[in-house]
Symmetry: C2
Subunit: 213 residues, 2 copies
């Protein structure tokens, strides 16, 4: 008799046969009676359900942060109030290829997070199912890589836009395009929050997988 | 009698007591004898050991790539063969703060990977121990985030160094400092390889944790 596969520890107690049959031939009465009490069958179900609900909450926060990052970057656009005869000073997010990559990466991450919600709900309904959790941990780490990549690349460019670099003769433009830089910086912060939430999701899923025995 | 904690399925067979004591008072002889045959005790031990060895191999490759990235970036240095009376054209990795961050992040990642080797070896010796594997998956994902972050930020700057950006008036300098750019690009590639290997390690550990039941 094995313990059942879903991970609970089954307590097996073995009752010794009653020994009140003194002096008689007890060939039949000596068969052991096994009672498998499944008293402590679901000791960690509540714990696992809590983890799954926390996973859903983190995921919803990550969706909010991801959409915030995408929309902040997508609407970044500033035209300076002065212009010459031939040139108007105008900055848009797709002037810099890195900002375009940032927007696309964050849109993909947000889309993935929305699509992952049903799997997260499956983990709440069936806290012991390892399949959906394994799928989530793998895809979460890939998407975490994508968002961190986008956020860091953009942070490097924003740092340059703020401070410039005298060695390479790249001048800062944030004095002129102040609102533009502010909005891009906010988008970078939102994207780093998404990345941190995704990292927490990976760690949480690892803990949940570890307890799945 | 529970199955043991390390995850094997233990087959318990219960031998009925010999019934050759006919006609005698068998109060003592009727106690059941339990033989726990651990025949199918390690059905997946080979598989798990294979995963642990593959983990070690990936980790060693990641160390090589990490050290390559660190040393490539650390030795990047180019002086142009022409100079004016007051100025010598010289490029070094710490002219750009992002390159300095890249080197520090990759050095940290390589150091961590070396320190993680004993834990990886523990996973080979004890393939069913979930603790070291959980520690590795969490730290691996954090360090993966760090290396991806460094590689992406540097890639954004290298892209700028190659192509420049006319909107922001940042000129490329790779025509002049060609060797410098080549070496930095190689370092970025090495760092992306480290990140990919770390991602594989996270996925592998997730699979190993999932089968740990």
């Amino acid at each position: 008799m094995d313990t059942d596969k879903s991970g609970e520890v089954t307590k097996i107690t073995i009752q010794e046969p009653k020994t009140d049959t003194k002096g008689k031939g007890t060939s039949g009465a000596s068969a052991p009676v096994i009672v498998a009490t499944k008293a402590a069958q679901h000791p960690r179900k509540g714990w696992k359900k809590g983890v799954a609900i926390f996973d859903l909450v983190l995921r919803l926060s990550a969706i909010a942060a991801g959409f915030a990052a995408t929309s902040l970057m997508g609407t970044t656009d500033q035209t300076l109030p002065f212009f010459t005869q031939f040139f108007q000073f105008h900055a848009e997010f797709n002037d810099v290829p890195t900002f375009l990559f940032f927007m696309i990466a964050n849109a993909i991450a947000s889309g993935y997070l929305v699509l992952s919600l049903p799997f997260s709900i499956v983990c709440i309904v069936r806290p012991h199912a390892a399949g959906p959790r394994l799928l989530l941990i793998i895809l979460d780490s890939v998407v975490m890589g994508l968002t961190i990549s986008a956020a860091s690349a953009t942070a490097a460019i924003v740092y340059l836009a703020h401070n410039g670099n005298s060695s390479t003769n790249w001048n800062p433009f944030c004095q002129q395009f102040n609102d533009f830089c502010q909005q891009v910086s906010s988008a970078v912060v939102a994207s780093f929050i998404t990345s941190t939430l995704l990292l927490s999701l990976v760690v949480l899923s690892a803990f949940a997988l570890r307890k799945m025995k």
